[in-house]
Symmetry: C2
Subunit: 277 residues, 2 copies
């Protein structure tokens, strides 16, 4: 059985990278919903529907745990996914939030995310629950997603956009990268907010929590030659090329999910009906 990871597209590869480095013996199946990306500008209902379809696709492939690598899906659809599926579901940010009291010294925390992630208030509320005294600044940085996807990593336009979004955050001690595209801008973000601010990529906490879960449930893979499979809903070749930037190494074959492999989930029981096509 494999670890299943889904994301709206490319960004989740930064999460896969963190998981692969902590769990080198695991089989991993990654699904990027490239036909419908981005999620960060869409509504809760639509993101819930897409997330359940993605999870269903991976479960059909045979997975023992589902990692929601997309922060927008994590903040808007995690509860729905947990209710829907019988296997454990881990959201990319949840493990980090659980430790936020140990991470942030003064409780002045900025969260950077897509428009939908920040508007949902999910991360802000979850942190406030654990650290009621925290002062939390949610910053919707939608444009940074598109700049990264266009390859504008080290570019004056991106520097200007980061400054525009972050220059007012004078008082914070912790900044959370609440979108999987933002670790690619780690250096520029750190420079903008200053060295006194901890910049946190939740993916590392997610990988550690996943390892702990697999150990506890005795689900670790004894294999020595693990596989990593990639599926997308559109343009596998583009995913292979652009994905290299996110994963930090070349990708092997990427497979286009066939239309007949889309499973629609009906209601909250566990029956599926294959979509016509």
């Amino acid at each position: 059985m494999s670890i299943g990871i889904f994301d709206s597209g490319f960004g989740g590869l930064t999460v896969l990278k963190a998981i692969r480095s902590l769990l080198p013996s695991e089989n991993i199946i990654y699904f990027g919903d490239t036909a419908r990306l981005p999620y960060g500008t869409k509504s809760r209902e639509t993101i819930e529907r897409y997330s359940i379809e993605n999870g269903s696709f991976l479960i059909e492939k045979g997975i023992k745990v589902l990692v929601v690598a997309c922060h927008t899906a994590c903040s808007l659809a995690l509860e729905k996914l947990e209710q829907t599926f019988d296997i454990p579901v881990i959201g990319v940010t949840t493990p980090m939030i659980e430790q936020v009291a140990q991470i942030s010294k003064r409780g002045k925390i900025a969260i950077l995310g897509t428009r939908s992630t920040i508007a949902s208030g999910a991360y802000q509320n979850a942190i406030q629950k654990i650290l009621p005294s925290a002062e939390i600044f949610g910053v919707a940085c939608q444009l940074l997603v598109h700049l990264v996807e266009e390859g504008y990593i080290d570019h004056p336009i991106t520097t200007m956009a980061i400054y525009e979004y972050l220059h007012c955050l004078k008082e914070i001690d912790t900044l959370i990268l609440g979108c999987t595209h933002f670790p690619l801008l780690f250096k520029q973000i750190q420079q903008t907010v200053g060295e006194h601010v901890q910049v946190i990529d939740p993916a590392h906490f997610c990988a550690a929590a996943l390892k702990k879960l697999l150990e506890e449930k005795q689900l670790l893979n004894p294999l020595h030659e693990p596989t990593t499979q990639f599926f997308v809903s559109d343009d596998p070749e583009k995913f292979r090329l652009l994905g290299k930037t996110f994963l930090g190494q070349p990708l092997p074959d990427v497979v286009l999910k066939k239309k007949s492999e889309i499973f629609l989930y009906n209601g909250l029981n566990s029956s599926f009906s294959e979509e016509l096509s």
Copy 2:
């Protein structure tokens, strides 16, 4: 019977505006595929599939002509749409391209579009066919789409991005706005390329061709109180708010397309099967 217009989301409202001003008595049904936007970064297969689904939805609502307001759909799926449907199909750019020999004095033409529009080569090839001596520069300006959708119209980041994309175009006499978002940046684009360059919005040619077609086929609407209906596949309230920028006036009610109203087209005959769910 109505005029049907579809777009990937908001941008097509600039086309609707041009059509409405030339054809004030017509009923119009607009569909924005906001659950799956943007189209400009996606593959031909996916855009063809989405376009046929969108066209089918509008035909079910009762339309006499289909306007493809999205340039990406126009450059990648127009032929497929014409083969598929029995009603006339007008692509937003086709009428302008047919007159390109009259428009461009020296045949030095730049086309600005999304990544998929430019990569398809469809507009470049169509112009070359009509004006074989033309020198054509296709410029993929993907980022401008996102800047407009984020409301960065009059902003230094947008000015910088426009300069970055266009500053090498020294020799052109004509610049075609090959994406429905770009008319919102008309002023800045004109300033960047200089007053000696004609900046062309194909929507006006599309509206004129549509009027001519309806006259020729005696399909003009005699009504005095025409209706305009708006449907989207996600987040009607956001569409209503953001759409105002594109349409230049407030939008009335926007209706969320129900999942059961998605019609999947099977093959190239004219039968439809309703999607399960």
